[in-house]
Symmetry: C2
Subunit: 386 residues, 2 copies
């Protein structure tokens, strides 16, 4: 029988302890969309993640630094993390306008703005040039720059600069990108350690890449785990059926005593699979992004609250859910707010969806501690329709 | 020396006591835009007003009735009021597309949709035909219909159906419209009393009209005050300098023992003037509507928070303001949220602006009780720039 990877633990940060497994709320631009920090606390959120690239563009890391960091700026006094900007290499590169195309790697030096370029990110050995999706202005991230910005943003946990590749990229490209990510990891670590000599600083997590190839994932896990990181991120996109497998390959190699964050994953089944295979934390925009379209979670699956049938449904979204939305409002009311384009619709739906995901992962933690995770997973997924 | 009209009092409702003068929060479609009912309570809101015409269109009065009324539907357990739809006669009629034009009064029977009509409301002796601003569908309100809908919406205080005229309408039209409003008042009252025989019902307020003409305002006050209403509304648009005068004419005639609501007025100077001249309650969308554009109130006047100077201003909007927004967030942060089009921007700005207006009127109440209203008014207005 294979060794069990799923685990319950605790991550200590200067802003409190994170009980893991834990779902990380995404506060891209220093706000979890439509929610106050008090609402986040009431929901049971333990940690908020900010996006380095977005905060660098607006309001700029200098302003966040002057505000005494990301958490303080947004009024959140719990633990925080920032990503490295590496995901934007994917979202503005390979994924831009065409989810299937691979990142165009260009070793030549970036000059002026190439008006014929369809991709908004170009990679070379030293770093990545981005074109701002807001105004087309050019920006450059290197591992050193990403770390410098993240230090100014001042989260408790920060990440090494990496390249998040497309799941459809061929083996050769995945290997090349992974090896570059390893060199960037060393440079990120060096920049962090240098700054750490003069400043009390955050924990730095190294990122494992390697796409969906077993040998690359294992090689990446071996290389990154040998570096002096405080924890690890598992990056990249996966095919749904590959994810659990790829995470297992990696987590069998990563040192047991350090935390493991799975970047940008948050489907219900994916979360079970990630927890089962040894991940401790996960961030995903899905709960709040879907909430804003009226797509709402319950233990039976998702409903679209704008559906006409809910106009006269005076029951809560989920009668067993103790969240603020379910305790105080009916489907008929929330459905009315969505049809009327009322801002409160997004708040109430986001509270519920985020509560759903945070509680789901909390329950996974409890059932691990009770030795009943397998049973919980089976029972939950048998009635849940994605 | 003239008799002092300004007064502090209490209005009893089945959902609690309103200490007056009081600012009424506007929850047009059964939500004070971007705020939860808990936020409203924390702000110190005492009463919420819903708009009958909007709620009739969406979700429909039948659904609100099934939800046990407007307050219950939106999760607000304090006092409530609904307007009569009369303001929409103005906003879809005289004011539609051209603030200055007068309402086109058409005695002929309304047939199909007149595609050449620019106005979206047409008035005859029996009532008003509206064309929905959403889909062009035709709807008809009469005094009896307005009362029937308001009974279903189930607020604590409801209003007789009236015509809100344009401030630029000539004397002859104002007189004609006022006389019709008086006939509608009697019909509203009769419909209410008939229903009251079988149901435990809300209080009905009659509305005084008459534009800015002294003889008409006084006549309207005399006619309406003789009818068996539980309180009064003062309707119509005013020129800024006329308002205090017109309100004074009316309140000298209205019986002292019944409450007086000034409909849709909410400028800072107007509120001082209305309180001074004997009004008890006031509703206005300005605090929340302006908040959503970044226009924020303080004791010194309004600022536009999106102004570049606030990007690095790490002080609260008003260091003396104890509202949630001022206690927890800086101008730099709120300004960042607005520049990033983040939903939380509207919530935080609305909390502050609504707190500002509600507290301002609470302070007026206290200074009336302390005999210091005049001094407070003078001191407040000397430093406030509208």
């Amino acid at each position: 029988m294979p060794r069990k990877l799923g685990r319950a633990g605790k991550i200590k940060t200067p802003h409190g302890i994170i009980e893991t497994p834990a779902f990380v709320s995404v506060g891209t631009k220093a706000t979890v969309k439509s929610l106050t920090p008090e609402m986040l606390r009431d929901i049971g959120a333990q940690i908020v993640l900010g996006n380095t690239f977005h905060l660098y563009l607006e309001p700029g890391e200098e302003i966040v630094e002057k505000a005494c960091g990301f958490g303080k700026f947004m009024g959140w006094n719990g633990p925080t993390m920032t990503d490295s900007g590496g995901f934007q290499v994917f979202s503005l590169g390979a994924a831009f306008g065409n989810r299937e195309s691979k990142i165009k790697s260009s070793p030549r030096k970036i000059g002026g703005f190439n008006t014929t370029a369809t991709k908004k990110a170009r990679i070379d050995e030293d770093g990545v040039s981005f074109f701002s999706p807001r105004d087309g202005s050019e920006h450059r991230f290197t591992p050193e720059k990403s770390i410098e910005i993240q230090h100014k943003l001042g989260a408790d946990i920060i990440f090494a600069f990496d390249e998040c590749t497309s799941p459809t990229a061929p083996y050769e490209y995945q290997k090349k990108a992974m090896e570059r990510t390893h060199r960037w990891a060393e440079r990120s670590l060096k920049a962090h350690q240098k700054a750490k000599k003069v400043l009390e600083l955050s924990e730095l997590f190294g990122i494992v890449q390697g796409g969906r190839y077993e040998d690359l994932r294992k090689e990446s896990a071996r290389v990154i785990s040998k570096l002096d990181f405080d924890g690890f991120g598992i990056g990249g996109s996966f095919d749904k059926e590959d994810m659990g497998k790829a995470v297992r390959w990696v987590n069998k190699i990563l040192p047991e005593e350090k935390p493991r964050h799975l970047l940008g994953i948050g489907g219900v089944e994916d979360l079970f699979s990630a927890v089962e295979n040894g991940c401790d934390t996960f961030d995903c925009v899905a709960p709040t992004r879907e909430a804003r379209t009226g797509s709402i979670y319950s233990s039976k699956g998702r409903i679209n609250i704008t559906n006409a049938r809910y106009k006269t449904d005076f029951s809560p979204i989920d009668k067993n859910c103790p969240c603020y939305t379910c305790k105080n409002f009916t489907k008929a009311y929330i459905s009315h707010l969505f049809r009327s384009n009322e801002l409160l619709a997004y708040t109430l739906a986001s509270i519920h969806n985020l509560y759903f995901f945070i509680s789901l992962v909390k329950n996974m933690r409890q059932t691990i501690l009770d030795g009943k995770f397998e049973k919980y997973k089976k029972s939950f997924l048998s009635s849940f329709r994605a």
